[in-house]
């Protein structure tokens, strides 16, 4: 579904503080894959996700989504293929727009926006139905300003919005890292439910090794801008945190695994 070939990304190229964030990363994401992406701080996992989403241009390499070469496409154009949820729960929704307006904005992802009514009657019925799946009571608050909701509620809405128009690939960028532990678990369960029931191809970046092991059918580890581990199927299913740490050190990890990665 996604084919990244030799993707190289520098930050501040040609300056003293030049950083090589991605070194010729190649990764093929197959349809139906639920890949968890882990790595220490600065390993390049979020950079890779942003490169796929087109947040910035890449220096070298190519990216194709659904057999379309999107390497030169701007972010808003790639959005037609991608559903995204960010780490910051406030980034995924418009605070001043109502709940139904936010969902309506998401329901036109990848489509032309014209002078038709933004929120239609038929939409409202659909939104109510979808929101009731969250179990947060938001289906009765369609016209409330989204800014009134908690971070967890807004992240749950963002999950819904990312999948309202079926994405070719769902990109989750540490989307539970900024939530309190209880809410993080709820959002993770919601994620798993949505991904399974809709059979979504998903890439999930996480800091949390336990999460990376528990969910998904494939695990990819980044280190210093490279993919150093890519396991799937049986091998992934049998993986424990201790194994993962050992593999990490074996493969050239320098031991800087944070407490957060272990305990988070």
């Amino acid at each position: 579904m996604i084919r990244a070939r030799h993707v190289t990304k520098f930050f501040n190229r040609g300056e003293v503080n030049e950083v090589l964030a991605l070194r010729e990363v190649s990764l093929t994401v197959n349809e139906g894959d639920f890949i968890t992406v882990i790595g220490s701080n600065g390993a390049g996992k979020s950079t890779f996700l942003n490169a796929l989403a087109g947040v910035f241009p890449i220096e070298e390499g190519s990216i194709s989504v659904a057999d379309q070469d999107v390497t030169t496409w701007p972010e808003h154009r790639r959005a037609a293929f991608l559903g995204r949820v960010f780490q910051d729960p406030l980034l995924g929704t418009c605070p001043h727009a109502t709940i139904e307006q936010n969902l309506a904005l998401a329901s036109r992802r990848g489509k032309r926006r014209g002078l038709k009514r933004g929120v239609r009657k038929a939409d409202r019925a659909l939104f109510r139905e979808k929101l009731s799946m969250l179990g947060l009571g938001l289906e009765d608050r369609l016209t409330d300003a989204t800014g009134l909701l908690s971070g967890g509620q807004r992240q749950a809405m963002t999950m819904l919005m990312a999948t309202l128009v079926r994405p070719k690939v769902l990109l989750l960028d540490e989307h539970t890292a900024a939530l309190d532990p209880k809410t993080a678990v709820q959002i993770m369960q919601l994620t798993d439910e949505l991904v399974r029931s809709e059979r979504l191809t998903t890439l999930m970046v996480t800091h949390n090794m336990a999460q990376a092991i528990e969910y998904g059918n494939r695990l990819v580890m980044f280190h210093q801008g490279r993919v150093i581990l890519d396991v799937s199927g049986e091998e992934k299913a049998g993986l424990g945190i201790q194994d993962l740490l050992e593999r990490f050190h074996e493969l050239g990890g320098d031991g800087c695994v944070s407490d957060r990665a272990l305990l988070g």
Binding site: G92, C94, A104, R113, K116, R117, G118
Partner: protein, 300 residues
Amino acid sequence: MTLYALTGAVEQGFVYGIMVLGVYLTFRVLDFPDLTVDGSLPLGAAISAVVISSGHSPWLACVLAAGAGFLAGMVTGILNTKLKILHLLASILTMIALYSINIRIMGRPNTSLLGQQTVVDQFAGLSGLAPSLAAPLLFGIMGCIAVLVLFWFLRTELGMAVLATGDNPRMITAQGVNTHNVIIFGVGLSNAMVACSGALVAQSQGAADVNMGVGTIVAGLASVIIGETVFGDRSVGRALFAALLGSVLYRVAIALALSMDLGIFSVTPSDLKLITALLVVLALTAPRIKKRLLFKRGHA
């Protein structure tokens, strides 16, 4: 204040109200402080004066003015998004450029419309009202139409994308909207309204002058803030009407100030810019000062 001065102030309030709606669109909806308006208001006036004095319909003059204003706003939008110039500076550049363009359009710094058919004359002729009553009524109707059109627009798919671009640009980009195009379009639409307002101002005052735009943005901001403070901004519809009525309150307040006579000291029209600046500073800081006072009291 005489009744005549009051109806005059109300008329001005509605005429400039259309400009205030444009300022609301950039300043509040798009979160884009746009000073282009100081140039696009006289741009509309200049085009309106030239079109009318060459014998064409005053209504056509408004439409052409709006079109030119849209282009001016687009220039600011393009300078900001495509050429990465800071929004304030981009709008100042367009504003300065428009000064020269406006003189080119008129061929001289000002053009009189005395004796020419304006929209007010046509409306007065049609309704049989005296011009001093017909003018505020006509502009009031036009202001309300502008509010309704803008309200309708902001609830369409495209309008909601404009709102979202001001509210959370990263989110709306991830939802597939090209925020550059939205900003170019939004600033264009805003300046179309401002230029249309300028065209009507010229017809209401009987002249277009290249310097008539000085301080437009400040008057616009003052009106937006007065409207929000007095009438509230809970919903988009309410905020739009508040902006229009805020403009009327602003002009009435100025007329009152001008009619004040404190012994030897009296306010002259040249003091207006100072008063307006103070008013905007007060209105912008009032919420914070209020909060601080309440905070202190709560801890005393």
